[in-house]
């Protein structure tokens, strides 16, 4: 691996510069075929690797099967508990239950963090026990964890909560008919989906006119100092914490890489508009709201 001079490096096309031999370990441990073997099929990104589109779903499934049992512990350890603040802020800004009982769908919501916050917010602030949340996740292990968590709450065995195993890109229309929900939430899940436009289309389909689409996701940090620190922390500490606490370095390597591959805020806002939602302006505070400098970000859109 030669280190090239700055001028030579800047003259290379951007794609050629994206090589990270440090992270070759994720390549050797994965069993994906090289994309050159299937040049006709479309490709998707799996972290910093490129994989055939069909494989991304099963690779992501493997990752989440592996992390499911220690998911909540690892969230607390890697974000030092800050993810709780982000999720609280996300749900409070949505004010579920303010205009009466809502039907909510929480996609990629496996362990039930957001669903629980929605139901608690409606109950505590508006004495609302009719708001319901349908938790949807493609991974059965994550749903199992969510089910276990809800068993410890007052919502277990009530119509307020239901769990469904489904693909966010193709929600079954028998269970999720058109124009059904008032609120569609997806927290820290959309970057793992193979085709973001498909997810947005499905969100548009199942929401009622006037319904809100709200996505909480890791996003681009624009401040250079914060970005450097954040990168160092992500690529150094998070895989190590994964090794130590969960015994699984590769899944956490994938997670931090997938954050870098997600479109930045204006691009994602554009994708939301293209799916048919109305958003605010392309500024922080408009179509999106940055948290902690862009480490996390809430994108909102309304179906007209």
């Amino acid at each position: 691996m030669l280190s090239l001079s700055r001028s030579l490096r800047s003259s290379l096309p951007k794609a050629a510069r994206l090589n990270c031999p440090r992270y070759i370990t994720t390549q050797s441990s994965s069993t994906t075929p090289s994309s050159s073997e299937t040049t006709t099929s479309r490709t998707a990104s799996f972290g910093f690797k490129t994989v055939p589109e069909e494989s991304k779903e099963s690779l992501v499934k493997d990752v989440f099967d592996s992390v499911a049992s220690s998911y909540d512990l690892m969230n607390d350890a890697t974000s030092l508990g800050v993810h709780r603040l982000w999720k609280d802020s996300y749900v409070s800004a949505l004010k579920p239950g303010r205009k009466g009982p809502m039907r909510c769908i929480d996609v990629a919501g496996g362990t039930g963090d957001i669903a629980l916050r929605i139901l608690d917010y409606a109950r505590e602030n508006y004495a609302d026990r009719e708001t319901s949340v349908a938790v949807v996740d493609i991974n059965a292990q994550m749903l199992k964890e969510g089910f276990r968590r809800f068993k410890k709450t007052m919502y277990h065995n009530t119509p307020q909560i239901s769990f469904h195993e489904a693909n966010a890109q193709a929600l079954p229309s028998e269970v999720f008919p058109d124009n059904t929900f008032d609120l569609y939430t997806i927290a820290f899940g959309i970057r793992n989906c193979t085709s973001i436009p498909s997810v947005l289309e499905e969100a548009h389909r199942v929401l009622k006119p006037g319904g809100t689409f709200a996505c909480l996701e890791f996003s681009r940090v624009n401040n250079p100092l914060l970005s450097t620190l954040y990168d160092q922390y992500s690529f150094t500490m998070i895989p190590l914490l994964g090794t130590i606490l969960a015994g699984d370095r590769d899944s956490y390597q994938y997670l931090v890489e997938s954050i870098r591959k997600f479109p930045p805020q204006p691009e994602f806002a554009k994708m939301i508009r293209e799916a048919g939602f109305a958003t605010g302006d392309d500024v922080d505070g408009g179509a999106w709201q940055d948290m902690w400098g862009g480490i996390a970000c809430v994108h909102k859109g309304v179906k007209l």
Partner: protein
């Protein structure tokens, strides 16, 4: 053969040196273009995860805490060993180079797992041989040679092999010293390994491991096993130089005399662990799916 192995080792060293020099400053694509990260980044062998000094220290501390909290996390004890090895591995490699048998081990690089060890063949050796004693010990304790984590955090491929060899030969040390796999015997063996081989992880395990014993077992450990470990481990030959796989047919008492090892005080042998049974079941299911 020796010339080839020498060349291979030289190219390994050259490759690591080049990768160190040229990729010690590694540029990584981020949102802003390139950013500089200081670490040796080219993997030198399959499974190699290069770490910089901070990551190494963090993993050492984290794996130490985790090993104490959950001793069944074999991968954490392995990580602790690799991150704290430091200069002890080159010293062990040099000890291997000093003896003819050790040089042969470095040249052949034998691995110990159920693919390379034919348990059925070993079981047929006559009573009193090392091979037979090993198989008997495996069954008595209920373990298999398959449970060792591969090496990830040692940069030099040859030293990585030395570490792997140490880890895989641990069971041979159990067998030759006639110790079972319970906590107090493992600790006795850790004391022995520290005195004999000098690895820091053995010292750390020996220092903190006894915290998990009750006072009676701790007393027995320090009054009976530790003196044995110090005396025997100190006077015995360096066990990393032994080519165990060529000694299956030798009489075990002869081997012990040659290496300078004598038995520790009688240990407590309990019921075999379920590992070996589960592994044997899995093997049977995989190799003969059409049976019964």
């Amino acid at each position: 053969m020796l010339a080839i192995s020498r060349t291979l080792r030289a190219t390994d060293i050259a490759r690591v040196a080049c990768s160190r020099l040229s990729s010690s400053i590694h540029r990584q694509q981020t949102a802003y273009g390139t950013s500089t990260r200081f670490s040796s980044t080219t993997p030198a062998y399959k499974g190699h995860i290069p770490l910089n000094w901070f990551e190494n220290a963090f993993l050492a501390a984290g794996s130490a805490v985790m090993s104490l909290a959950d001793p069944r996390r074999g991968d954490m004890i392995a990580a602790l060993g690799e991150t704290t090895a430091g200069p002890s591995l080159p010293r062990l490699r040099d000890r291997m180079l000093e003896s003819a048998e050790g040089r042969k081990v470095l040249k052949d690089r034998p691995r110990v797992n159920s693919a390379t060890i034919d348990m059925n063949k070993l079981a047929q050796y006559p009573e009193g041989t090392f091979g037979r004693a090993y198989v008997t010990w495996l069954e008595r304790c209920g373990v298999t040679p398959d449970t060792r984590e591969p090496v990830h955090y040692i940069d030099d491929p040859e030293l990585a092999y030395v570490m792997q060899r140490y880890r895989e030969c641990h069971d041979f040390y159990h067998c030759i010293c006639n110790l079972p796999v319970n906590v107090e015997s493992e600790l006795a063996l850790k004391f022995f390994e520290f005195v004999n081989l000098g690895l820091p992880v053995a010292a750390i395990s020996a220092a903190f491991g006894p915290l998990r014993l009750n006072s009676q077992k701790r007393h027995r450990l320090f009054s009976e096993y530790v003196p044995w470990a110090f005396r025997c481990g100190g006077s015995a030959r360096s066990l990393i130089t032994v080519y165990w796989e060529e000694r299956w047919d030798q009489n075990i008492e002869d081997v012990k005399r040659e290496l300078g090892i004598w038995d520790p005080p009688e240990a407590r042998w309990s019921r075999p662990l379920s590992e070996a049974k589960a592994a044997a079941e899995k093997r049977r299911r995989e190799t003969a799916p059409q049976s019964s």
